[in-house]
Symmetry: C2
Subunit: 244 residues, 2 copies
């Protein structure tokens, strides 16, 4: 959260490298899968056979309600796992779509269970990944419920940058591979509001569109973004419980 780009080590990456080594040795059933932009890794309703581990690329996941509403619920990067939400019902509850050329490892769930039972480290890593997903979802809820539109967009960009940074990628430049409508759907606001929020953030100098391609944007100062989010809480404390 706090000091974003001073984070030196990439905690998770090391353990994951370790994990993957184990998996590779112990899971001959694991297969690689290459995907292009807009390829579906899995779709809602499909039987869950594998969990997916992202080696490279970005993915978006959606959820589907009983009555047909659909929402973008997450962006996922290298090192993330996909499919946890389908474990209980053995059936995916939303789609996972590549936003870019990417590679995943498809890990057959029964085989993964096998490895977990043999290898404590693997099991804890799996648990921790699920736990992290839950935490991230909770943060996501909080952001959507307690921030005004502009701050919600700023927070969205900030989180994205933090994800990139955490993985050692450059975080001062983001290629938005989402339409304004998708961002709006993700954040719970109208596409026009997203567009306006981006325009305002640009006017404030918090972001800029150097390429004059309105999906390519620069974040000159990520901490300023965080500050902007934080400040907009002070002004109106929204629906948050207590600002201790």
């Amino acid at each position: 959260m706090s000091t974003l780009h001073t984070l030196p080590a990439h905690r998770t990456t090391d353990r994951l490298a370790d994990l993957l080594e184990r998996l590779q040795r112990q899971l001959p059933g694991m297969t690689r899968q290459l995907l292009h932009e807009d390829d579906m890794l899995y779709r809602s309703g499909a039987r869950l056979q594998n969990l997916y581990f992202i080696r490279s690329g970005m993915f978006k996941t959606t959820t589907l309600s009983a009555d047909g509403r659909e929402q973008l619920v997450g962006l996922h990067f290298r090192g993330d796992w996909l499919g946890f939400d389908g474990l209980a019902s053995r059936q995916f509850r939303g789609d996972a779509i590549a936003m870019d050329i990417g590679e995943v490892w498809a890990v057959p769930y029964p085989a993964l269970l096998e490895v977990c039972m043999a290898d404590r480290e693997v099991m804890t890593v799996v648990h921790e990944e699920m736990s992290r997903q839950i935490s991230r979802d909770h943060d996501s809820m909080l952001a959507r419920c307690s921030l005004p539109a502009d701050a919600r967009v700023a927070n969205f960009l900030h989180d994205w940058a933090a994800s990139l940074d955490q993985r050692g990628l450059r975080s001062d430049r983001i290629k938005l591979r989402l339409t304004r409508a998708e961002i709006g759907n993700f954040l719970g606001m109208a596409l026009e509001s997203v567009s306006r929020a981006l325009s305002r953030l640009a006017k404030e100098g918090l972001i800029s569109f150097p390429e004059h391609d309105r999906r390519e944007l620069h974040l000159p100062d990520v901490t300023a973004l965080a500050r902007f989010v934080h400040d907009s809480i002070e002004r109106g404390a929204g629906a948050s419980l207590k600002v201790a």
Copy 2:
């Protein structure tokens, strides 16, 4: 979801009974804990030693952002697990508070890992519970982002009733153990809006306050509630992606 009170069997309960039997045999370190209304099971920042399995009662969990905002993120009932979100950091990320007199089993996480490694069934149940939590969170996000205020409250009550029903409890009567402010915080709206929404739902006959205690409410027809939620989507499709 769909045919709410016709659900006869309680799928999860059976498997959990089974699981608990195993746990009890294999986990002497597991302890029972009794809580009264407003007791804190754990608090944000505390080191995670145990996961908690709810034997009876209701619990609410919150999440805390880096900058001090707090949000109610979940209600939990008999058969649910608490603490998953803290596994990754070995530290709780929010509070868990009893809303009633209740009993939990505190399961030392290292011991649980041990059992998981020995007992495949236990491990899959744990995974499935985490998975279910993720799914529920996603549903929650969707509801908060795509429904207008009244429908959000209706959906909230409907989910609550569904949870009760799933556990074989009577679902036509809910004792709200939350203030309007907490409900608002949970749903991302002002407490006055919650109050107004409840009044309107009562005027529509979808709920009633028989006790003239405004926290005790009856749901004469749960399917009507579901219909109300569904209908309010038609009117204005909110920020939902596609209404296939």
